[in-house]
């Protein structure tokens, strides 16, 4: 009898232990929320394409995973407003069972979402936002910043251009936090590499007409005009610069934050010669080409932007970390994401640092002339590759409290 009882107890204990070995997934579903600008100025950079990318990642993960996880992808439009983003994030976490939020361009929204994510102990997979503060003074144990940030953009474009002879600069800056940060970081890099800043002018956000500012840039006779702005402002600056014959006059334009979709909107006639830094381009190698074709087929023929690639890669890595950590608790999964080295067809091999910063190489591109392009989206030629360990701000300089 005793033996039977103890073996019964033992059997029960084993059963429970066996149960615990299964993943502890809240609600039995891993829910990923893709939040970005679906209808505004950044809709082409992220938008519905990011949802497509996330779903591709889920598909690819399920092909190789043995965990048998149920995974769902939902999406929402934050309209570039921090209050909308923070409300949706709260609601997603509190009532809809979302475990991780991905994308979120527009730094102000990203900072708000990062805070809410931290308070609720979930995971924030940031690919869209630019602010380097997300892994600096606003870093969080629940946030992973993939893709790019202002420091990388400044360093990538800035130092590469100075080293190839563009040593006098004039800045055209969007007058808000992001623009200031980009201008400050790029100026520091230019000066460090022995260049000079001949002048700067700040324009209000969403300016229509840049002719006056471009005139000042022309008058300065700087070799490089740095565009410390984004989205519609960058597009308008470039278009009007072409109109005023700036590039023909011998000065070159450095787009500090430009996406492939922006170039597509401008057309090569206008954008040729522009120098940009991105961390992904569909035509880099066979793997990126193959994935991009798949993506385009699912996205109405539109090729992926850097942000779409980032969403794919970060969701894939997140799911691998969920499988390895056997839970979807945000803090634990993010810790696991930092533990596991990353490997995906789009960014190659890399790591996620202690401060949440993902490290991968960056690429300096020049926009082709119309004669050099073989078709739509064939816009870039590679000028230089910046190795991963130099592309991003050193760990110690960020001021992140998580770094000891």
């Amino acid at each position: 009898m005793k033996l039977k009882l103890s073996s019964l107890v033992a059997a029960l204990a084993l059963a429970f232990a066996g149960g615990a070995a299964q993943a502890q997934i809240s609600g039995n579903v891993v829910k990923i929320g893709v939040m970005n600008d679906m209808s505004g100025v950044y809709a082409d950079i992220g938008g519905p394409g990011s949802v497509v990318a996330a779903k591709l990642a889920v598909e690819d993960f399920q092909k190789t995973s043995k965990a048998g996880l149920k995974i769902e992808v939902v999406s929402a439009d934050h309209q570039n407003k921090p209050d909308v983003g923070s409300t949706v994030a709260r609601q997603w976490y509190d009532t809809d069972g979302v475990d991780a939020i991905a994308d979120v361009p527009t730094s102000s929204v990203a900072l708000a979402v990062s805070q809410v994510t931290r308070d609720k102990g979930k995971a924030f997979l940031a690919t869209g936002p630019a602010t380097a503060d997300l892994t600096g003074k606003a870093c969080s144990p629940n946030t992973v910043h993939w893709l790019y940030d202002t420091w990388m953009l400044a360093n990538g474009t800035g130092s590469a251009i100075v080293k190839t002879g563009g040593d006098t600069w004039f800045f055209l800056t969007a007058d808000y936090a992001f623009g200031h940060a980009l201008e400050r970081d790029t100026e520091a890099v230019v000066l460090k590499n022995g260049g000079k800043v001949l002048g700067k002018v700040r324009h209000p956000l969403a300016t229509q007409d840049f002719s006056s500012f471009l005139l000042q840039a022309q008058a300065s006779k700087a070799k490089v005009i740095g565009l410390a702005n984004a989205g519609g402002d960058t597009i308008n600056s470039i278009k009007q610069a072409a109109e005023f014959g700036i590039v023909k006059g011998g000065q070159s334009l450095a787009g500090l934050l430009v996406f492939l979709t922006d170039v597509h909107g401008l057309g090569l006639q206008t954008a040729q010669g522009l120098i940009v830094t991105e961390t992904f381009y569909w035509d880099l190698n066979d793997q990126t080409r193959a994935w991009s074709k798949r993506f385009a087929a699912a996205n109405g023929g539109k090729y992926p932007s850097m942000d779409h690639a980032g969403v794919y890669a970060v969701v894939l890595h997140y799911l691998k970390a969920v499988e390895a950590a056997k839970t979807d608790d945000g803090t634990k999964v993010v810790a696991k994401m930092k533990e596991l080295p990353t490997d995906d067809p789009l960014f190659g091999k890399g790591t996620v640092r202690q401060d949440g910063r993902k490290i991968h190489p960056a690429y300096l591109f020049e926009v082709k002339k119309p004669s050099e392009s073989k078709g739509p989206y064939d816009y870039y030629k590679l000028r230089a590759t910046i190795p991963a360990d130099q592309a991003f701000r050193p760990l110690a300089e960020g001021g992140c409290p998580l770094v000891k």
Binding site: Y42, A43, K239, E243
Partner: protein, 294 residues
């Protein structure tokens, strides 16, 4: 030689650019002033109709291969026609009510139009090339002036002066002005007042669309382009005097110059200087610089 630290050469360049921007303000505020001055309608849809005009030009070029020059003619007619539909179906029913209802209606229509365009075309803006006949520019010594921009100034002056002349100096204009003062009396003379009002609204809208086509080669064609401009244009009309066409035109050009100077000395404020001026004018002379008490 320098004025306030800026070499005169550069200053002239900035003033010229200011004048070019002023041409757009003048063209746009002309349509608004016509509509408000003659019809007492506050047309908040003006910005969306400007955007619609630019899009018509874009679609004409990209779907039908119709050039810029034809678009200058076709777009105002198409958009003006839609304006007439709006007036007949909706605005005319609001005349007996407080004018602010007209404002709210046109505000709503603007939202709908912009939303629809945004759904269809996205918001990052579409490129529209300058017509090849106007490409390039000439070096004026103190700056490089693109030919297209010079064209804008010329056309704007012609259209503004032409419209002003038509309204202030021709018989048709006289009928129109009389009709707004005393519709019953004018109607008693056998003139079809409602039809005149409808056509005038259509004309004002057509002016907005015309400005849109002119703007397409310079600014990206985007659903947002009107929303960004509309409150500035309102400010211009209010400053110029809501009843006065000449006032709006002069203020439009004047604002372009003031804004140009602000961009040199205090660029961050260039979006807001217009509102400061508007507030000051409203406090001192609420009917505007050239306006008359209605």
């Amino acid at each position: 030689m320098e004025i306030f630290g800026i070499p005169t050469q550069a200053l002239f360049g900035q003033l010229l650019i200011g004048l070019i921007n002023g041409s757009f303000y003048a063209l746009l505020s002309l349509g608004l002033a016509v509509i408000f001055g003659l019809l007492n309608i506050i047309n908040f849809t003006h910005g969306a109709q400007y955007m619609f005009g630019a899009f018509v030009a874009y679609l004409l070029l990209n779907r039908l291969g119709v050039s810029y020059w034809w678009a200058l003619l076709i777009a105002p007619i198409v958009v003006g026609a839609t304006g007439i539909v709006i007036e007949r179906l909706m605005l005319s029913k609001l005349y007996k009510l407080d004018h602010l209802y007209g404002l709210l209606l046109t505000f709503g229509v603007a939202l709908v139009m912009e939303g629809l365009f945004r759904n269809e075309f996205g918001s990052s803006g579409l490129p529209y090339p300058s017509p090849p006949q106007l490409a390039g520019g000439r070096n004026l010594g103190f700056m490089f002036l693109p030919n297209y921009r010079a064209w804008v100034i010329a056309v704007s002056l012609v259209v503004c002066l032409g419209t002003w002349y038509a309204i202030e100096r021709t018989r048709l204009g006289a009928y129109l002005r009389a009709a707004t003062e005393n519709p019953q009396l004018v109607q008693a003379f056998g003139i079809n007042v409602p039809r005149m009002i409808t056509l005038t609204y259509g004309f004002g809208v057509a002016l907005a669309a015309f400005a849109g086509v002119m703007a397409a080669p310079i600014y990206q064609v985007s659903p947002q382009m009107g929303a960004n401009l509309i409150i500035v244009v309102f400010a211009v009309v209010v400053i110029g005097g809501m009843g006065s066409i000449l006032g709006s035109v002069l203020t439009g050009f004047g604002l372009g110059l003031v804004e140009g100077l602000t961009k040199v000395f205090y660029p961050e404020a260039s979006n807001t200087v217009i509102f400061v001026i508007m507030a000051i004018v409203l406090l001192i002379k609420p009917t505007g610089l050239f306006g008359t008490q209605k």
